[in-house]
C-alpha cells in the first residue's frame, strides 16, 4: 500500500494506529443514507460535527471517527471515549470533499491521517 498523508488532528480517544475504509458523513441526510445501507466492514467516519445527539448515532456503528472540528473536551470525544472508539478531532486540514468512500484510511497514533493511493 502507498500511504499518503492528507491531514492531521488531535487523537483524543483511544490513540493508536487504526485502519479501515473511509466513509464521509456530512449532515443529517448523510447519516440516514449511511444507516439505510447494510452493514459491511466498519468504517472510519469522516464528519464535520463535534456536538449534538447525531454524534452518538455515528459513533455507535463506527470503527473510528475523524472530525474536522472540535477539541479535547468536545461532545464527540466524550462519547467516543465512552464507546472506546478511536477519535481524532480538529482535523481542519482535511478536506472531506476530496475523499472517496471506501478508500483505505489510516489514523496514526500521533494524529496523522493517511489514505492509500493505489498504483
Amino acid at each position: 500500500m502507498a500511504w499518503i498523508e492528507i491531514g492531521s488532528g488531535l487523537f483524543a480517544s483511544q490513540p493508536g494506529d487504526v485502519e479501515g475504509p473511509v466513509r464521509v458523513v456530512i449532515g443529517l441526510k448523510a447519516i440516514v443514507e449511511w444507516m439505510r445501507e447494510s452493514e459491511g466492514e466498519p468504517s472510519i467516519i469522516v464528519t464535520n460535527v463535534a456536538g449534538g445527539s447525531a454524534v452518538s448515532t455515528i459513533i455507535r456503528r463506527a470503527k473510528a471517527i475523524v472530525s474536522t472540528i472540535g477539541g479535547p473536551n468536545s461532545h464527540i470525544v466524550v462519547v467516543a471515549r465512552d464507546y472506546n472508539v478511536p477519535c481524532i478531532v480538529g482535523a481542519g486540514s482535511l478536506d472531506p470533499g476530496a475523499l472517496q468512500n471506501g478508500t483505505r484510511m489510516r489514523m496514526r497514533r500521533d494524529g496523522t491521517i493517511e489514505i492509500d493511493r493505489p498504483g
Partner: protein, 194 residues
Amino acid sequence: MDAQELSPGALRLLRLVTFAGAVRDAQELVGFQGDFASSIAVLQVGGLVETDPVIAPTDAGIETLESWYAADRRHLREEDKSRFLGRFQPLDREVKRLASLWQEAVSRDDWDKRLQAVEELSALHAKAVALIAEFAPVLPRFVEFSQRLALAHEKVLDGETEFFVAVRCDSYHTIWFQFHEDLLRLLQREREPE
C-alpha cells in the same frame, strides 16, 4: 400534520429522532420516557417519520418540528435570547471540561480527581438550576431539563456514577447535550467553535 395535534410524548419523540438523525430502535433513544410504540405509530401515520429500515424524520417531520420551534420562539424577546445564551455558554464549557475530567479520573483510577469532579458538578448544577428557574417565566419548557438534571445529579451523589457522563443512560452529560441542542434550535444559533 400540525405540531399542535401531537401529544407531548409524540412531540418529544419527534424531537429526539430529529436530533439523532436516525436510530434503529427505542434503545438508541436515550431520555425518551413514554409509550414508544404508540408515539412512533402516530408519527408514522402522520408522515412525520419513516421506520424502515431505520427510524428517521421525513421532510414533513423536520418541517413540523421547525414550525413548532418557530411558534415557541415568537414568545421570546431578543434580549432574553442573548441573556440566556450568554449565561448558558460558560456553563456548557464547564460541563464539557468536567466530563473530560471525570473520564480521565476514571481511566487513571484517581479517586481524588473523581471527588473533585463530583464537587465541581454540584457547584455547576446549582448554577444551571438557578439559570433555568430565572428564565422559567419565558422558557417554561426547560424546567423539564432542570428536573432531569437534578435526578442525574442525585444519582451521581448516591454513587451511581455512570449518571455523570455515560452515553447509554440519562446521564448529566446526555441530558445537558439534549438541552443544548434544544436551545440552539429554539434560538436558531450555531454551536460555538471549539
